[in-house]
Symmetry: C2
Subunit: 328 residues, 2 copies
């Protein structure tokens, strides 16, 4: 048995709890504890033995942590936190603001390269595993089209948007990939698809007392950007049903590359995720990349990396010899 | 425009022809020519401009080739050819004898490390892309089961076996994944599946004149290893139908990882290929890995590698900056 890789969790929401659980499924990893901006005494962890420390404990380098897994939000936390912590620790994050990934990588790379640490950023599934599959698809089938569909899944951003509508007491929104569009792509058709043809949106809404259902429905389905460009259905339910049937965070989706290698020869690659829990799955990806980050750091490969740069074998606890014998 | 990567094809059967076509789809690659054991004058290439050379032209190192793509067979050619050519050239192969991959890697690694060349072996889709997906699945979801299904696809080995049955003038065999088994795995059930429950086999057979159909059918379905462990159907057709409907080489399959991240939380990752042409797709994978091999060689990373060792970004002609902006 080799020495375990020692993991710290920074931030303890749904994602941080998922990382805590995922570390427990990997015998080669060891949890040092959770680091939080809250009062550590107020944080109830899933594991009884999990220790909770104030964030300020990370203000100095320390030799009992191999990798920090950063579980803050992409809007307010990670743009500042990842470069800052990468100047003292090897880190992994799931920064997911697609349009700003290049500047995030640049900022983290500057900090990590200067400090001699390793940072793997924007892991998770999109960006992350879906990015990898878009890469493999276009590299192997250069003549073709790539399609990404999301869902069926709970969208946090759209759920927040519908809850801001006057008269709405609560609710959730699911993104649904169009079955017809998916089937056309799978069949190798390479169709041009509008936004409306790719996904539909299903809203489950609890009304405030006395609210006008039709007015609420109209306000939701006509909301620019969020709902107007889609076929949106609104179903009114009561608070009990919301709590009972819509408390999970399922998600998933597809990346499909449809290409041709010669006249009339269609080749289709499909990657699909069907997730009961989006945060637990994202956490599982972060944890596998934390293992890779520890190994890259130990090999002196410093600076910022993404999933596109990491040799896949580094994700696995098994030796290269075992992997070759078992998986090839 | 950077200098093109110069590719040589060794062996010119279905796979070699696929590589010739695939190189033409990649503007950053340039085909030097085909190297064959046959009389070069007797080889009709797909491309009019493709040059054909005798294999002996590779007996000495030469500076006009960056990567050789080895398109010989795994039984008789590659075990000898890959180490031999790796001692003079950077090479890629699709060695697919799963049980012997470790010794193939070892033999090629000894040659390549000594010569300062790079060899990526056992690329293709299984081993290859399916191996990668088995790795990602078990690394991300350590608590779970991995299932590989093949087909619907033409199996060369089983087609050869049925053609050896007395009374058979011609025929093909398709491997079919059991729809019921695939659906159970997709649903996250993690079932124990026998060989018979995973795949069925469909044979299309042309009888020799005067042959006894029932005797032929019985001989096929009871053949040990090849057909006896499966539910096998035999359909008798005439030679015209065989030529008209069964001349393609479709294949594909699924790798499904079904895991749990916490009690009752099921997570499913599915990777699926649906290929009109198995050799053209395998060739496309070889060509993408040839690009990676050229880059690894240029970076001084010598010795034998497999798909598990190669950073995915190296497969793409695009720069790391472009990839991050476009795919993450």
């Amino acid at each position: 048995m080799t020495t375990p890789i020692r993991i710290g969790i920074v931030g303890y929401g749904n994602l941080g709890r998922g990382v805590e659980t995922a570390v427990g499924l990997n015998p080669d990893l060891e949890l040092v504890g959770v680091f939080t901006r809250r009062d550590p005494g107020s944080v109830a962890t899933l594991g009884e033995a999990t220790r909770v420390f104030p964030m300020s404990d990370l203000d100095e380098p320390r030799d009992d942590i191999d990798v920090l897994i950063l579980c803050g939000g992409s809007r307010d936390d990670l743009p500042r936190q990842t470069p800052e912590l990468a100047s003292r620790f090897t880190v992994v994050d799931s920064y997911d603001n697609h349009a700003h990934v290049p500047e995030h990588v640049a900022a983290v790379d500057a900090a990590a390269s200067a400090a001699g640490t390793t940072a793997i950023v924007s892991t998770g599934w999109d960006p992350g595993l879906f990015s990898l599959n878009r890469l493999f698809g276009e590299a192997i089938l250069p003549q073709g089209s790539t399609y990404t569909f999301w869902g069926r899944g709970l969208s946090q951003g759209h759920s927040d948007a519908l809850r801001r509508v006057p008269g709405v007491a609560g609710g959730v929104q699911y993104t649904i990939p169009s079955r017809e569009a998916v089937e056309r792509v799978r069949a190798g058709e390479s169709p041009e698809l509008s936004t409306r043809e790719r996904h539909t949106r299903e809203c489950y809404v609890v009304l405030e007392e006395g609210a006008d259902a039709e007015a609420v429905r109209e306000e939701i389905v006509s909301m620019p950007d969020y709902f107007a460009p889609y076929d949106t259905t609104v179903t009114f339910i009561d608070a009990d049903e919301l709590a009972r049937d819509h408390g999970g965070m399922p998600h998933g989706g597809f990346v499909i590359r449809s290409g041709r290698t010669s006249d009339g020869t269609s080749q289709v690659i499909e990657y699909r995720l069907d997730l009961d829990s989006n945060p637990e799955f994202t956490a599982s990806v972060l944890v596998a990349y934390a293992r890779a980050a520890a190994r890259l750091a130990a090999a002196g490969q410093h600076g910022a990396k993404t999933v596109l740069d990491v040799p896949p074998a580094l994700l696995s606890p098994r030796s290269p010899e075992e992997l070759r014998a078992a998986l090839l």
